[in-house]
């Protein structure tokens, strides 16, 4: 059992899913309430990581982080080293990879809040942002927990993007799923089994949280 890889992965997943709350909420807000006619294109782009092979996504992220891209050069001038094959690079790749797993539950729960409540809030003098903070967010708790848990679990098990962007540097970018792969490659099956089982249990636990919080969805009220 490679505890170094395990804690690295947990740290990555925790950072990514926390950042996705901050990034995902504004995106989901826009997707829910915008009336822009080309909105569907943005929706498709956000959903892309669900269907895209992780290697393809990882490849483009690698190119974007490399020293030949403006982002890579800017980061290098700032910190003195490149993003590719670092933990930070891994975070950026994982953010993109898990984005839809946060944004989609967020947007779904925002959209499920009865518009009449928004109208009532407006008639009581609250701006759309105040309404969002005091009505939509509290009523979307289940969606927020779901988005957080799904993006956490999804980052936990990622493989392709990590390999492309981070490589396989122990203590820096070697995550738990890559560790399992390495152990299988060296025919170390019992160790691979332990690690895989741990990942399975954690994933089941996280999904139980997701389905647990969604067991009783928020509605305007049971009297309707």
């Amino acid at each position: 059992m490679n505890w170094e890889a395990f804690w690295l992965t947990v740290r990555l997943a925790a950072i990514v899913s926390t950042l996705l709350i901050a990034i995902g909420i504004p995106i989901a807000y826009w997707l829910t309430y915008s009336r822009w006619r080309w909105k569907f294109l943005i929706e498709a782009a956000v959903a892309l990581p669900i269907v895209l092979p992780p290697t393809v996504l990882g490849f483009y992220v690698l190119v974007a982080l490399g020293t030949r891209s403006p982002l890579g050069r800017w980061w290098e001038s700032l910190t003195g080293h490149t993003l590719a094959f670092t933990f930070e690079g891994l975070v950026i790749g994982s953010l993109l990879y898990s984005l839809p797993f946060a944004v989609q539950p967020f947007a779904a729960s925002f959209g499920a809040v009865d518009r009449k409540l928004l109208g009532a809030s407006a008639s009581l003098g609250h701006s759309p942002l105040q309404t969002f903070r005091r009505i939509v967010l509290p009523l979307s708790k289940a969606g927020l927990v779901t988005g957080f848990a799904l993006s956490f679990a999804h980052t936990l098990g990622e493989f392709g993007v990590v390999l492309m962007v981070g490589g396989n540097i122990p203590g820096v970018t070697r995550t738990i799923s890559i560790d399992i792969y390495d152990q299988v490659q060296t025919a170390n099956y019992s160790s691979a089994n332990q690690t895989a089982l741990l990942l399975l249990i954690i994933s089941f636990f996280v999904m139980s949280i997701v389905y647990g919080v969604n067991r009783r969805p928020w509605t305007v009220g049971p009297w309707r």
């Binding site: 009865d114 009449k116 409540l117 109208g119 009532a120 809030s121 407006a122 008639s123 009581l124 003098g125 609250h126 701006s127 759309p128 105040q130 309404t131 005091r134 009505i135 509290p138 009523l139 928020w218 509605t219 305007v220 009220g221 049971p222 009297w223 309707r224």
Partner: protein
């Protein structure tokens, strides 16, 4: 109407609002299950109750949504006290949250995650928290829902929720109050209590209150002015007794459900029998009606459905019905399979609906002498 001392207190501490007329002249396409309609209305509502009366799908809720700013009209103008809230010519459209228009939605739209008290104080965002608490407490007291303050909407009854919704809208001291069937789900005593609270509140605030209903009795109970909306247009407008009675407008009779709406004076109360005797208009015709809380000599209005009346060509005997009124048929009109006979009973005209077969069998026609049979419980009493 008796009101709680707490309401008096709440009323006295809030400053009187400046009287502000509501002016509406808008057009808006809207959809209902029967297709697409054009809401096309032009009216002015003064301080006090204006009833918006119409069948479901007539455009009542669309109209309120436009005034509240939750829906944009296609064009026109909406102004309160001379201030434009919406003007398509000037390209002006004040956002809903800046309009200061109180709106109690048909579904109440209470915030399910907030307690009754938090719901009521929600609109007092701009105030200091101590002031906010005082004001919402007064409102809760005034609406007799103080004991529910820590409960969530799902934990209280329909009538209590209705009061929370009203209190939540009134506490912000809106310039206009829009009420979309706010009494629909309530029993009669609760209704009249709430109406009393509303009246009391408005005696002090003097703002226009648009009150949407499809219940004819509420029109009489509340209205200073009634606007009848039919398929997006104003079919009639005026004081309830003029609009609802004088013009035998088909939509109005249909909407109120009473083809016969008659002025009556209470002659005698028979408390033991649960009935009373009323005289119709200035005629000598007397009617036995169900007992309501009224005094001898007080004036009421009686609604009778044309389909609830019986016609006889000979004076009937041995009937349980208490009212048998002699009269003469003036006109007979056939509408589809219903025959509508206008019968004059000593100066009071009744509309009676009979079948084609009954008309032919009895030989009903102008000049025919008949007796109208009215069951006591077919007489629906409405206050003035």
């Amino acid at each position: 109407m008796k009101t709680s001392p707490a309401l008096q207190a709440a009323v006295q501490t809030s400053p009187p609002a400046i009287s502000s007329d509501l002016e509406v002249r808008i057009r808006k396409r809207f959809l209902n299950p029967e297709g697409s309609f054009n809401l096309n209305v032009h009216f002015r509502a003064l301080a006090g109750f204006t009833i918006i009366f119409g069948a479901s799908g007539a455009g009542k809720t669309t109209l309120l949504d436009c005034i509240a700013g939750l829906t944009d009209p296609d064009d026109g103008r909406i102004a309160v006290g001379g201030e434009d809230l919406y003007d398509s010519e000037k390209k002006q459209n004040v956002a809903a949250w800046k309009r200061r228009i109180g709106y109690v939605h048909q579904d109440l739209a209470l915030f399910p995650h907030l307690t009754a008290e938090e719901n009521v104080s929600y609109g007092l965002r701009a105030l200091r928290s101590s002031e906010r608490q005082t004001r919402s407490h007064q409102m809760l007291q005034a609406f007799r829902i103080e004991h529910l303050r820590d409960r969530h909407p799902a934990q209280i009854s329909g009538g209590e929720r209705q009061r929370v919704a009203l209190a939540r809208a009134l506490v912000t001291e809106p310039r206009v109050l829009l009420l979309d069937e706010p009494l629909a789900a309530l029993d009669r005593p609760t209704k009249s209590l709430l109406v009393g609270d509303l009246r009391q509140w408005n005696q002090h605030h003097r703002v226009p209150i648009l009150f949407v209903t499809h219940n004819g009795e509420e029109v009489f109970a509340l209205g200073d002015e009634v606007i009848v909306l039919d398929a997006g247009r104003i079919a009639a407008q005026g004081q309830p007794h003029e609009v609802m009675r004088a013009p035998r407008l088909e939509t109005i009779a249909h909407l109120s459900g009473f083809e016969n709406i008659l002025d009556a004076t209470v002659l005698a109360l028979h408390e033991a029998r649960g009935s009373m005797t009323c005289r119709l208009g200035n005629s000598p015709v007397e009617l036995e009606t169900p007992l309501v809380r009224a005094e001898v000599g007080s004036r009421l209005r009686v609604g009778v459905r044309a389909g609830d009346l019986l016609l006889a060509t000979e004076q009937p005997h041995g009937l349980s019905a208490r009212n048998i009124l002699p009269g003469t048929i003036r006109r007979v009109v056939q509408r589809d399979v219903i025959v509508s006979a206008m019968v004059d009973c000593g100066g009071t005209e009744f509309e009676v609906h009979v079948t084609l077969a009954a008309r032919d069998a009895l030989g009903l026609g102008p000049g025919k002498k008949v007796w109208i049979v009215v069951k006591t419980h077919s007489c629906h009493l409405m206050g003035i």
